[in-house]
């Protein structure tokens, strides 16, 4: 055993003497009685070679150490960070950060001959406390059980009485905790069960207003029903309230007060189902240590909904804690709070130290990798917004919704749907920066986001990410044709366009896949073939089959199987399009050809028969005209020959500004790439 334990560390830890990174050996590990929904925690008995104590709880984020068997009886570890906490009235140290220095195998057996640390009495208890039945730290419901640190002498009842008699009404501490001035502290603290505290060390803890001596008093073992005292609490000494950092909140804590800012407040939601009806709203709060979600039902909704305002700081106390339903929130907290009838929310003027809204923004390009149904925070510039629309759900309910497209500096875009009031109130002018906290990712159209009732939508928020995004957008983003993750057709906007240059058609082998490729390009008509640009088609509605001229001057259509006295001219125009990179032959059918040439098929047909000069003139005009061509390209096999065929789907006039912006962005992007 080459590792030395920090002798005296156990005493120091429970003395609240400063001890840095003590090296301790694990005596045993117990599984904490699983709380609701199988929330497992581990309780450790650690020794410094001289004393040992089982009043250590492993923070759940370190559970993996135990489960991977890195942390096992006899292993040696170094505690890097602990937080003092209370289970009922018993003090425990929650190990938040630790390193395993030596595995159990390497360490061998017990180091030293530690004795159990309990109170002032020098440990002479059995070395193996595991036999003691009073091992178990009381579970959530177990305030009343003997939460004693293994001390076979101390059994519940005798201690109880002596304890209660002692002037150590530590519960007096409670009042010092609450700024809201809690009455009768006794009520608040569940002073039941055995505190194992020998009256000897009872610090003269009387009544209220003794926060400081509290801290100093040697808290040995268990049993002083001290109020929540986080050793890492940031509460400065001038504040009279004893605050609990959100990080410490757990169902096993009682009498906490949290000072936090509301980051996300939902609307009131009414429901009615077979069990009845009710209303609910929830909000999320944040302080320096973390975030947590708070829900209020029915009467609490009435009480608190108007009081709680987003971005304001409140002192919140007396809610019930339970394991969080991760389905509804993106917060990283195992628990959530439900407000009760006696819950108390008071605005707090002193918001020093409480951070403002904290969002974990995910770049849009990473949304594809996230699980669908995940709750995400996203920030982006609103490029386009559809108008508010009314849809009827399957249940027959009418909902207003509004779809926006957000783009961010990752170069991708995604559709965000707003509902109800949020949809109506949203002002999409001037490409606002939109931040959404707690949007739900869905697989609609690939990937898209929905701001449901728990999400908060902030327009042009006052946060650094918003400013960065605005700067990015002004310089680069506004012209960027980002690729959308949502493959839904928009009625307006540029988002379906896939801009390519003609050289890309060959280099990227467009159309070679199973499906046809669609792309848009800016190109110049270099040549338009006059010959065979028209064909005679069946005059009947929607049949465009080429007709054969009969001997009697009538025209026969194979598809209809009929003869017609007449035909209609239809376009099948071959054009050669060129840009800086390459040229391609493309076919324009009726509509596109008409747009390109500027006149209808039958008119051109007539000109062809009557006025040859005018006919030629039409083609002269189109030569070297520049347009936007939205085309379909596909590799087709015709009689053993493979050819890439390009069909023009739409001809549009060039929007020079948009084109310039695209070019500028491409230039900048290419420059950055190098």
């Amino acid at each position: 055993m080459s590792v030395n334990l920090t002798a005296g560390a156990i005493e120091d830890l429970f003395n609240e003497s400063p001890v840095i990174n003590p090296v301790l050996q694990v005596m045993y590990i117990r599984e904490y009685p699983p709380g609701k929904q199988g929330h497992t925690r581990y309780r450790l008995n650690l020794s410094d070679g001289v004393r040992s104590s089982s009043c250590f709880l492993l923070a759940s984020q370190l559970n993996h150490l135990k489960e991977a068997e890195l942390l096992a009886p006899n292993c040696v570890c170094m505690l890097k960070k602990t937080i003092s906490s209370y289970l009922g009235h018993k003090r425990v140290l929650v190990v938040v950060d630790m390193d395993v220095l030596q595995t159990a195998a390497d360490a061998g057996g017990n180091i030293g001959n530690p004795t159990q640390l309990i109170g002032q009495t020098t440990g002479q208890q059995e070395a193996n406390p595991s036999t003691s039945s009073s091992d178990e730290i009381p579970g959530p419901s177990g305030y009343g059980t003997s939460g004693s640190c293994e001390n076979s002498q101390m059994k519940s009842s005798p201690m109880k009485s002596s304890w209660k008699a002692s002037p150590m009404k530590a519960s007096g501490m409670m009042s010092s905790m609450k700024a809201s001035g809690m009455p009768s502290p006794m009520k608040a603290s569940p002073v039941k069960g055995s505190g194992i505290v020998s009256p000897m060390e009872a610090s003269p803890v009387k009544g209220s207003g003794m926060p400081s001596p509290m801290k100093a008093s040697p808290v040995k073992g268990s049993g002083m029903s001290f109020p929540m005292q986080a050793s890492t609490s940031s509460s400065p000494s001038q504040r009279p309230t004893k605050l609990t950092p959100i990080y410490h909140l757990s169902p096993y804590l009682s009498n906490w007060t949290v000072r936090a800012r509301v980051t996300n407040k939902s609307d009131i939601r009414n429901w009615s189902n077979s069990r009845g009806e009710g209303k609910v709203f929830n909000f999320e709060v944040l302080d320096e240590s973390g975030e947590i979600r708070i829900t209020a039902f029915n009467s609490e909704v009435d009480k608190f909904f108007s009081l709680v305002e987003q971005n304001k700081v409140y002192l919140i106390s007396k809610g019930s804690l339970k394991v969080a339903n991760k389905q509804y929130t993106s917060l990283k907290n195992d628990y959530e709070i439900t407000l009760e009838a006696n819950s108390c929310i008071v605005p707090c003027e002193d918001s020093q130290g409480v951070p403002t809204v904290h969002c974990d923004f995910v770049p849009i390009s990473q949304l594809e990798g996230k699980d669908p149904e995940a709750i995400i925070d996203v920030i982006g510039v609103c490029e386009e917004a559809e108008d508010v629309s009314l849809i009827t759900t399957k249940a027959g309910k009418q909902l207003t919704k509004r779809e926006l497209v957000l783009s961010d500096s990752s170069g991708k875009m995604v559709m965000l749907t707003l509902w109800g009031d949020q949809a109506q109130k949203f002002n999409a002018s001037c490409h606002p920066v939109v931040a959404v906290k707690g949007a739900r990712l869905s697989t609609f159209g690939g990937r898209s986001l929905s701001a449901f009732f728990c999400s908060t939508v902030m327009v042009n928020p006052d946060i650094p990410e918003a400013f960065e995004l605005r700067a990015w957008y002004n310089q680069v983003g506004h012209g960027l044709c980002s690729q959308s993750l949502t493959e839904v057709q928009f009625t307006s906007g540029e988002f379906r366009t896939n801009w390519k240059s003609l050289s890309d058609v060959k280099t990227e082998q467009l159309g070679h896949g199973e499906k046809a490729d669609y792309f848009s390009c800016v190109a110049t008509v270099v040549f338009a073939r006059k010959e065979n640009c028209l064909y005679r088609a069946c005059p009947s509605e929607s049949c465009n089959k080429k007709v054969q001229e009969q001997d009697d001057g009538r025209y026969h259509c194979d598809k209809c199987g009929k003869d017609y006295p007449d035909f209609k001219y239809r376009f099948m125009l071959s054009v050669n399009l060129a840009d800086f990179g390459d040229n391609v032959w493309a076919t324009c059918f009726q509509d596109t050809a008409e747009t390109l040439l500027g006149l209808g098929a039958d008119r051109l047909g007539r000109l062809k028969d009557t006025d040859e000069d005018a006919f030629n003139e039409v083609f002269q005009k189109v030569h070297f005209s520049k347009h936007i061509f939205r085309s379909r390209v596909k590799l087709e096999t015709y009689n053993d020959e493979c050819r890439v065929k390009v069909t023009v789907m739409e001809v549009l006039p060039v929007d020079h500004r948009q084109h310039s912006r695209r070019l500028l962005n491409s230039i900048r992007t290419l420059a950055c790439g190098n």
Partner: protein, 122 residues
Amino acid sequence: MSTILDVPRPRINFSMLSRYISKPVCFVGRVEKVHPTGKTFTVADGEGQCVCVELNDPLEDELSGIVEVIGMVSNKGAIMATAFSMLRDEKGSVFDLELYNEAVKVIHDFPQHYPFDAAASG
């Protein structure tokens, strides 16, 4: 005056003026203020910076909107105009000065791709 029109005159914006002192340039901007005498007026570029333009002969007509000024840059940072033209709004399309400014920046950032000088003399 004809000589200046034979020589390459790079397009610049306000930030580039200092590099082209005593050289012929082409400056496009929006007319801000016209001096009562008509002999000088200020033009703002795509970034909003103003340049003073001085004319040999006073203006005869109203000048407004976007203008393109060709002239020499004086050592005080003004442009001694030899020629200018107003860009009229066509078919409802507005001249996007910010976009133009971006293009001017690109031209100057990548002179290897925009060898106007060589093209003009060669």
